[in-house]
């Protein structure tokens, strides 16, 4: 089977269309970054509190907002998370609600605000820790155990926590669910309601980042991206000519700009893993560019008399089959990640889905034309045409 056989497309002739296309997306992204959504830094970078809450019933966002408002939490962002059938909500507090002294005060306030109608003196089993359950069982001793009490009640508490977290996905609907559950002793199931009640939610996941770490991480992410680009520039300058390095870095910068722009336009949070995806993308887009450059270098030696623009066109066409195939296959795996990888990886896979499309496009539409444009410019200035990259093989 073969998709591309003897293709001969004049890519360089279409450079103005490419330029227009790239400009539209870059400027739109840039515009959004400056004037609209700005750069939507995730909690890792801006600091703040994220609490992922699972409810036992479809959550009412307005009611939750009212509860939090009563607790004095100002402007929390509350949004449904993942599939609606999972009844999950993400509560996002501003960094103002996290103080240096008590980093977790926002989280504590949220839990207190949502644990309304709590019966006096009872603990919420949906948010009780393993240790709290075990300590209660040790005190109460419903199974009347002897020296093996510690071991047995550890197992009992573990069974209850397992039922709640692993079997039921985070929340118990009724204390009756303990009866007959695997590993839970009937005496324990009967004793639990004396000290515990059930709220209608459980906290699945908490992320709290203080303001100091946020700033530090932003600097680190910026530096990592910068060093990555510098590394490319140096390596390509060493392997080819410096203009190849510049072209590759401009290309990758273009990809990064459009990807971050897409995150800004869609107002999707840029988390630490998204930065990881962007760095991967830098590597990937560079791969594509290098494959074309390698072929240009090879062809320059074979076709000494031809114009650079013809050589470049020929090289892109020769590698087109590989470019599309690799992009397609990588896209396939990334798409699988985006569709089936779950909510936690959503931002990460989104960055890669966008990035692979843009990265493939840019190695053809941006990197190669820069080489030709540089050559034309040199010729216009009356200098010798570009030195042929032939070294370092």
């Amino acid at each position: 089977m073969e998709f591309f056989h003897n293709v001969n497309i004049d890519f360089l002739g279409k450079k103005w269309y490419f330029l227009a296309f790239s400009l539209i997306f870059s400027v739109a992204g840039l515009f959004s970054m400056l004037f609209w959504h700005h750069i939507p830094w995730g909690v890792d970078f801006r600091g703040g509190t994220l609490v992922y809450v699972k409810f036992s019933h479809p959550p009412d966002v307005n009611a939750i907002r009212a509860d939090l408002d009563r607790a004095g939490l100002k402007d929390p962002k509350i949004q449904p998370y993942d599939q609606p059938s999972l009844n999950e909500v993400l509560i996002d507090l501003d960094v103002r609600e996290t103080s240096e002294k008590a980093l977790d005060q926002g989280k504590t306030k949220i839990i207190q605000a949502l644990e309304k109608n709590a019966p006096a003196g009872k603990t919420d089993l949906n948010n009780a820790s393993f240790l709290a359950i075990k300590n209660y069982l040790m005190d109460k001793d419903p199974m009347h155990l002897g020296t093996d009490a510690d071991q047995k009640y550890t197992a009992q508490a573990q069974a209850i926590v397992n039922l709640r977290d692993k079997v039921l996905g985070g929340v118990l609907n009724s204390l009756d669910q303990l009866k007959g559950a695997s590993g839970v002793d009937p005496a324990v199931a009967a004793a639990i309601p004396e000290n515990f009640y059930l709220s209608d939610f459980g906290v699945r996941n908490v992320e709290i980042v203080g303001p100091q770490v946020g700033g530090q991480l932003r600097t680190q992410a910026g530096l990592a991206t910068l060093y990555s680009l510098l590394g490319m520039l140096v390596y390509l300058g060493f392997r080819f000519e410096w203009i190849y390095g510049v072209a590759a870095v401009v290309t990758v910068f273009h990809d990064t700009l459009i990807t971050v722009g897409a995150f800004s336009l869609t107002n999707t949070d840029i988390s630490l893993t998204v930065i990881a995806a962007i760095l991967t993308l830098i590597g990937y887009s560079n791969n594509d560019t290098i494959v074309v450059f390698d072929r240009i270098r090879e062809n320059i030696k074979l076709m000494r008399r031809e114009k650079l623009s013809d050589i470049v066109n020929r090289s892109i066409n020769q590698t087109l089959s590989r470019t599309i195939l690799t992009a397609g296959l990588t896209f396939l795996t990334v798409l699988a990640l985006f569709l089936f990888g779950g909510e936690v990886l959503r931002g990460f896979s989104l960055a890669l889905v966008i990035g692979i499309l843009i990265g493939t496009y840019s190695s053809i539409a941006i990197a190669a034309p820069i080489l030709v444009a540089y050559q034309d410019w040199r010729v216009q200035k009356g200098k010798r045409p570009m030195a042929m990259p032939g070294k370092a093989r």
Partner: protein
């Protein structure tokens, strides 16, 4: 098969067995359950997959400098007094930001050589320079400052490790974090309610026994009034409880600035109960500390002493008779658990500096389980899609690529397994799984590059053996370039990233390294083997 080829095949099979051992070890059986247990034994999951708590702590290293500077001031005062040199005052000029800057004011003229010899002999970590009006500036040497700060961090790590170990958390990670910002990373797998652990880690547990000079007073003003408006220079006011059970800060005590004994003099601490049957902590002093305590109590019979924990007065008692080496902390509403925790904290030693929390992440076990499920599902779907495509598109050579991809996966997982065996513990995180998926996608690139090149050479009329040869040698240069650049960005990610992101960088890097081996070497051997079985002029399925 010729001999050269045979050796290569043996080498490949050996490598595979080596990495398969990394993944499974020697499983107890070949049933699905036995293999699954073997797998989970060898490949460790990161915190984001198995659930747990991730904390970043800031060590306030200036505390340690502060202690040293205050100590230096005490030494200076004593020495100057013993040499009968007058001085007006010795203070820290900026205790908040530069605790090591000490100003000595109003030293009597002509004391230069004495002062210099005191600093040289007793305080060699400081540098002293003269200032106008008979003043002197003392500053700690920069190398000593950074030394002291680093020591504070490593000591804090040690203390926190002792405490966490005593709590019985399995496989905790406690290490310095970041790039010289005096931070500590603590990861506690399986702890989904970190409150208690956090309190225990954060407790500085600075125990001091001081002389009580007055109190309890209902407020700070009352204490001042009682002493005629000015507090004695060698005394400080500390908050405490007016009676057992009352809230802290309701009463104030005037206590001596110097301590008779401190936490450093403890030999042991155990939970016990006081005379009222309430939970308390009893402690034993070391020989030297006991001697000092005996000297102190025998010269202060009839006076009161105060047990001070973290600058809060916990208990005040009358000294009825000299005490040698035992004491008790009670007071307050201590629960059994708190008494146990406090004695454990005291045994583990005091933190050299206070700490605060900068970052806290808790992953519930249910979320981790979900993440594994969806991550693995995405990996399997992506992998199968790629395998099928390669078979359809390249037919015979597709098998070649598929074998290479599967071997790539085995090497990558085997590497993770071997890291556990070697004790380095490179954990598989959720972004790490994404790294595995990406390796599959990007790994296939090498195969595509080579196959496309071989097809091109075949089109140009080359014979299959020479097309294969040319295809590999031309593609090799490109493959090296692409791998190096990707590994460069992965390496940078590894240096700057934390936790899960590091996991991603690791799997990506090793996936690509493994890919160099499988897509180039293994794939070439398979081609050579196929070619060796073909008649001259027979077509290659690609």
């Amino acid at each position: 098969m010729n001999k050269n080829l045979l050796w290569k095949v043996v080498f490949i099979v050996g490598t595979m067995l080596f990495f398969l051992f990394g993944i499974f070890g020697i499983p107890k059986g070949l049933s699905g359950d036995a293999l699954a247990t073997a797998l989970t034994d060898h490949i460790h999951l990161g915190l984001d997959l198995k659930g747990g708590t991730h904390l970043i702590l800031q060590v306030h290293v200036n505390d340690a400098i502060n202690v040293d500077a205050q100590n230096a001031i005490e030494v200076l005062k004593q020495q100057l007094k013993s040499r009968k040199i007058d001085f007006a005052e010795i203070t820290q000029t900026d205790p908040q930001n530069n605790p090591d800057h000490i100003l000595i004011k109003g030293v009597q003229p002509g004391a230069r050589s004495d002062l210099l010899s005191i600093v040289q002999e007793r305080l060699p970590e400081y540098e002293i320079t003269g200032a106008p009006e008979n003043s002197w500036n003392m500053v700690m040497k920069p190398s000593m400052v950074s030394d002291l700060k680093n020591k504070a961090v490593s000591q804090a790590i040690e203390t926190i490790r002792n405490r966490i170990d005593a709590l019985g958390v399995s496989e905790p990670t406690i290490q310095e974090h970041g790039l010289g910002q005096y931070q500590i990373l603590v990861q506690l797998p399986g702890i989904d309610d970190p409150e208690r652990v956090k309190d225990i880690m954060q407790s500085t547990a600075m125990l001091e026994i001081k002389q009580s000079l007055g109190g309890p007073y209902p407020s700070e003003q009352a204490a001042r009034q009682d002493k005629g408006g000015v507090l004695p220079a060698d005394a400080i006011l500390l908050p405490g409880q007016s009676q057992p059970g009352a809230a802290e800060g309701q009463a104030w005590y005037l206590v001596s600035r110097v301590s008779a004994v401190s936490g450093k003099d403890l030999r042991d601490a155990q939970p016990s109960s006081d005379q009222n049957g309430q939970p308390s902590v009893s402690f034993t002093l070391t020989g030297e500390g006991g001697q000092r305590f005996y000297n102190f109590t025998s010269s202060h019979v009839g006076d009161s002493l105060a047990v001070v924990l973290d600058n809060k007065v916990k208990e005040v008692a009358n000294i009825k008779e000299p005490i040698r080496d035992r004491g008790e902390i009670s007071g307050g509403r201590m629960s059994d658990q708190q008494a146990k925790d406090l004695s454990m904290i005291l045994r583990s030693g005091a933190l050299p500096a206070s700490i605060s929390y900068l970052e806290e992440r808790t992953v519930g076990p249910s979320l981790g389980a979900d993440s594994i499920r969806s991550g693995v599902r995405a990996a399997v779907i992506g992998m199968v899609a790629v395998l099928i495509f390669m078979l359809v598109y390249y037919r015979g050579a597709g098998i070649n690529a598929d074998v290479a991809l599967i071997l790539n996966l085995i090497i990558l997982l085997g590497f993770l397994g071997w890291s556990t065996i070697a004790g380095v513990n490179v954990a598989l995180t959720l972004p790490g799984i994404a790294g595995v998926i990406l390796t599959v996608g990007m790994g296939v690139d090498s195969n595509v590059l080579i196959f496309e090149r071989i097809r091109e050479e075949l089109r140009n009329g080359k014979t299959p053996p020479s097309a294969v040869d040319q295809g590999f040698s031309h593609a090799w240069i490109t493959i090296v370039d692409t791998h190096v650049t990707t590994i460069v960005s992965a390496a940078i990610l590894f240096i700057f990233g934390t936790g899960p992101v590091k996991g991603f960088a690791t799997t990506l890097t090793f996936g690509l390294l493994a890919n160099l081996f499988t897509a180039v070497f293994v794939s070439r051997v398979i081609f050579d083997w196929i070619l060796s079985r073909k008649q001259r002029g027979e077509a290659l399925s690609i």
